[in-house]
Symmetry: C2
């Protein structure tokens, strides 16, 4: 697998390629200004033809190699807008069962459109950035540190080629706009979220941090991993209609060194092509650097759930760790690593809340 990122060596940030575990200095090797800066955005904006050409050259490259231990992976791209979808059927169903136990778990719109909301672009951080436990209003209301701090295992797609305002991107051209994929941990404070989210959706329960993996895997590297999925029922409206598919990528959640969940991106109901077509159907434009995350990826089995709230069934069934330790939600000092087969990893450790922030 070849992937692209931004690395700092000797104090200078530039674009690098990860090839079979070696980091190549693309800025030095390819002598193109799009590789010389501290983000992938100029490269991503150039479009599929240039991406393919670069990819072919990287495969043959006898480029300066930076020792992986000597380079620091940085935030790989400047985030334009961050959109978080809700595209896993099992995740949406689990959340419905927990919070609306007497009703149909899926809301009426769920099978008709990829539900989504905008997240905070300015707090998307690279893997390894410590995550401070957020304070805020918990149900009551009362002020204090979140007591239900959670993870969300997601894939994120990064837009390369922008689109024009007022012009929807048709589904069959959607992938021409998408550069590649990262892993996303959409950290969530469930207690803050529960109190604030009606009627306009999640805000502070999500906006304190969202972590992404440092190496963006271009879609060309994932072509061979497309898998057919079950027909969508009911059939979506024409602008969302395609042969159902998803990427077959094994995923896992590790908490303090123990794998606590194993799942797969093929459990997603809505594809990235459908997400792009939906996001732009109203004429909204895409920008280079837009991040489209899938929402928590959960599979059908209890051990394939991508969040602690699902794994612990709303805190009622603690997750068992080695040595008799258990978790419902995250404790200070906990480290979470999300991994994708061939996609890399995204990690983050919880720091204690900053006390005394209130007056």
């Amino acid at each position: 697998v070849i992937a692209y990122g931004v690395v700092r060596e000797s104090g200078r940030a530039r674009v690098g390629a990860l090839v079979d575990g070696r980091v190549l200095d693309l800025a030095a090797a390819l002598e193109d200004e799009v590789f010389g800066g501290p983000s992938l955005n100029p490269f991503m904006a150039r479009g599929p033809g240039f991406w393919r050409e670069t990819h072919a050259r990287v495969k043959e490259l006898d480029a300066p190699v930076m020792a992986p231990d000597d380079v620091e992976p940085l935030m790989p791209f400047e985030v334009a807008d961050y959109v978080d979808f809700f595209s896993s059927l099992h995740h949406a169903t689990n959340m419905g069962r927990m919070f609306r136990p007497d009703a149909e778990p899926l809301l009426p719109n769920w099978r008709h459109l990829p539900v989504a909301y905008h997240g905070r672009s300015g707090t998307v951080v690279p893997s390894g950035t410590p995550v401070r436990r957020p304070c805020g209003q918990r149900p009551g209301p009362e002020y204090g540190p979140s007591l239900r701090l959670d993870i969300e295992l997601e894939a994120g797609f990064v837009v390369g080629v922008p689109s024009a305002l007022g012009e929807p991107v048709p589904l069959e051209r959607a992938l021409d706009h998408v550069f590649g994929m990262v892993l996303v941990n959409d950290w969530s404070a469930r207690d803050i979220q529960a109190w604030e989210y009606q009627p306009l959706g999640p805000f502070l329960g999500k906006s304190f941090a969202t972590s992404v993996s440092p190496w963006v895997v271009p879609l060309t590297e994932l072509d061979g991993r497309r898998a057919s999925t079950a027909p969508q029922e009911p059939e979506p409206l024409p602008y969302l209609r395609e042969q159902p598919w998803a990427y077959d990528i094994a995923l896992e959640v590790e908490l303090n060194g123990t794998v606590i969940a194993r799942t797969n991106a093929r459990h997603l109901y809505w594809s990235i092509a459908q997400q792009v077509a939906h996001l732009t159907v109203n004429g909204a434009s895409l920008r280079t650097g837009d991040l489209l995350a899938t929402g928590t990826i959960s599979g059908p089995s209890p051990e394939s759930r991508g969040s602690l709230i699902e794994l612990s069934w709303n805190g009622q069934e603690p997750i068992e760790l080695p040595g008799g330790d258990t978790r419902t939600f995250l404790e200070d000092g906990d480290e979470v690593v999300l991994r994708g087969d061939g996609i890399g990893e995204v990690r983050g450790r919880i720091e204690p809340a900053r006390l005394g922030a209130t007056r």
Copy 2:
């Protein structure tokens, strides 16, 4: 009133000041690089000391004047994150009465925190940009142009000074981060919004366009217009507690040349200082260019409502225009102008939907 914006004259974009209706070329007059580019962001990032110093110099300036007719006002700043609040008590109450007629109009959280969600930064456009009627999924679901296209009269506050991730901005220092105010028309497709918004909030019903006025009025120019407002009941948590206040700014909505609503920013329940303190209480950082809009500003009387859905009471009471014309929601060709006393105006005209976008 002195306000700041970006103008293009002879093909070159740079920062200008609007002083008593004349446009001054700040890039030429002040010879500072922060005025030479196509956005206010570098100027705004410099902070309150530099803002005050510049303001004092502009008042005394014998600067090159550009004829207002010769300059084209552009988007005044690069939007980092766009957050839309829901801070008008009367607006929130009206929406509750219309959509939950048998329940308490305000949801339980409303008086405890300034409810908000993230909007789409990439589709914030300057005054005068045509607004194409969006297509999408209407209730049914069925695909088609929005049939309930609406406006929202809002004020927007623009962040100048960033804050650090993980460090809440206390209420008493909140205004040091805010550069100034614009008017915002948060165009809304009510039918698309109604179908999509559960459980994660508005998405495509809002993301097709948000218009802002071209001249940013610095807060220093508004100091004299602060007015005390009624005590907040119940008293908010300590991190949101202050002497209640709002800006006393008369606002109006004009539709095709007829003023259809008159209201005032003093009807807002939550202040911009409270909004900044709340937005950052979880450690979320501010960036230069963040846009914090108030949400629709409605007053207590029927004619002081800031959206068509309120003015027409969900389409049941058409708004009467001269010549026997009526409106519930916007028709193609309609032009809307929002004005604020001393704040300027933001305008936009509705273009027909692009048909054939679906397959």
